[in-house]
Assembly symmetry: C2
Homo-oligomer: 245 residues x 2
């Protein structure tokens, strides 16, 4: 896709870490939330991967994604138990050491009494060398940022708080603008003229999404571009096409 003139495209990927998502025991709610928030601020989410709690899988996926996108956001695996291996895997991916960070330890002590700060809980203060902490306004145990990678909790409420702490620090792009035209038609009846419009406007993303309403199959056509002018031009063309039927 062509980009709007002068705009730099900021891209992102999400790496979801956790056996519980792959077993179906836990239904992921983080991908959709991060996707929406990134779209809001003009960052293009380009890829998502879900991998198990296996170090070499996390390292391989992270290295593939961080080389390719402006930012990578991970969720999951930063708690105190033996299956929380994200911080170690990230350190390994970056080839740096990992140890208890005094700043992270201090954050834990805002929430956990010193007598309860056992070795397991102290694991939550281990961050790769050179990482910056991401504050956790919910339960204090921080996430962290190293290079272009942001490591967040898997618990949605904590992840939300971490993401909001991260967002003001990100480079953002021109927001993707979108307009939706309800076709009041079946997808197959508008596919040909819609395809013609899409061919004429390769710089505008045109998606066709079928849904069921009370009268049966219907279709939403979503027109997306970073240019207000282009999105409105194509929306009007789509609306006129739909009205002509």
């Amino acid at each position: 896709m062509e980009e709007a003139q002068g705009a730099q495209t900021i891209t992102a990927a999400i790496l979801v870490i956790g056996d519980e998502i792959l077993s179906g025991r836990t239904k992921d709610k983080n991908i959709g939330h991060i996707a929406e928030r990134l779209t809001d601020i003009g960052i293009d989410l380009r890829e998502v991967r879900v991998v198990p709690d296996v170090e070499e899988e996390i390292v391989a996926a992270l290295n593939a994604m961080r080389a390719r996108y402006t930012y990578v956001f991970t969720t999951g695996g930063i708690g105190p138990t033996h299956d929380d291996i994200t911080a170690d895997a990230v350190a390994k991916a970056f080839g740096v050491s990992i140890d208890v960070d005094p700043r992270a330890r201090a954050m834990l002590l805002e929430y956990i009494a010193e007598k309860d700060l056992n070795e397991a809980r102290l694991r939550m203060a281990r961050v790769p060398a050179g990482a910056e902490l991401v504050v956790n306004s919910v339960s204090k145990a921080p996430g962290f940022n190293i290079g272009n990678v942001y490591v967040m909790a898997g618990v949605p409420r904590i992840m939300h708080a971490m993401l909001e702490a991260i967002i003001p620090t990100l480079k953002t792009g021109a927001p993707m603008l979108s307009e939706t035209v309800r076709a009041d038609a079946k997808e197959g009846d508008i596919a040909a003229p819609l395809g013609d419009i899409a061919k004429r406007y390769p710089d505008v993303a045109i998606g066709s999404y079928p849904f069921m309403d009370d009268n049966g199959p219907n279709t939403n056509i979503v027109v997306r571009s970073r240019s207000r002018e282009r999105v409105e031009e194509v929306r009007d063309l789509v609306a006129a096409m739909v009205a002509r039927r």
Copy 2:
């Protein structure tokens, strides 16, 4: 992880195809459903990727995944509009031609009057050479299977029907058995003894999942193995550890 003696491990991956998931406009509901059903029948879901409606991205992800896992399931991108490019991308990944399949066309005619079977709708009958069709009991337009790849619709109700049609044809493994022990403790208070148990039973997957109940932070410990004996042995050890606290 070691496998139970004599059992063959059947693995799988999911490839979700669609800009609408990456933009956050549509929240994926298919990953969790497929994950649960595969777990039910003893197939290990090992990876999920979400990619945009871009041919080279679909081809690259599919080729990486189909080489690595017993099965790959795709969702999305098999409708009649210009942004439905999954069938073409799959044909390209396999290096085979693609054309309207007479069997698929006949299926479409069960649902669509011949006068309405325009060129766009006929796109839904295009399948890669050598593919077998996957019946769609909801709206007839079929999915397909080529090699170890199963191509399904993105609309959840249709995807569910296709998956149920596919499941009886799959090799299945010994089902993964799981037992959950509620710890009535914070994760950080049981992490050390739990880690000790996990170290002693490397063939048993032990996950620790924090949640909030009325009394505050609590933890579910999930013990998983294909061996009934091992899962019960470890469950009892975990329960005894929790009770000793």
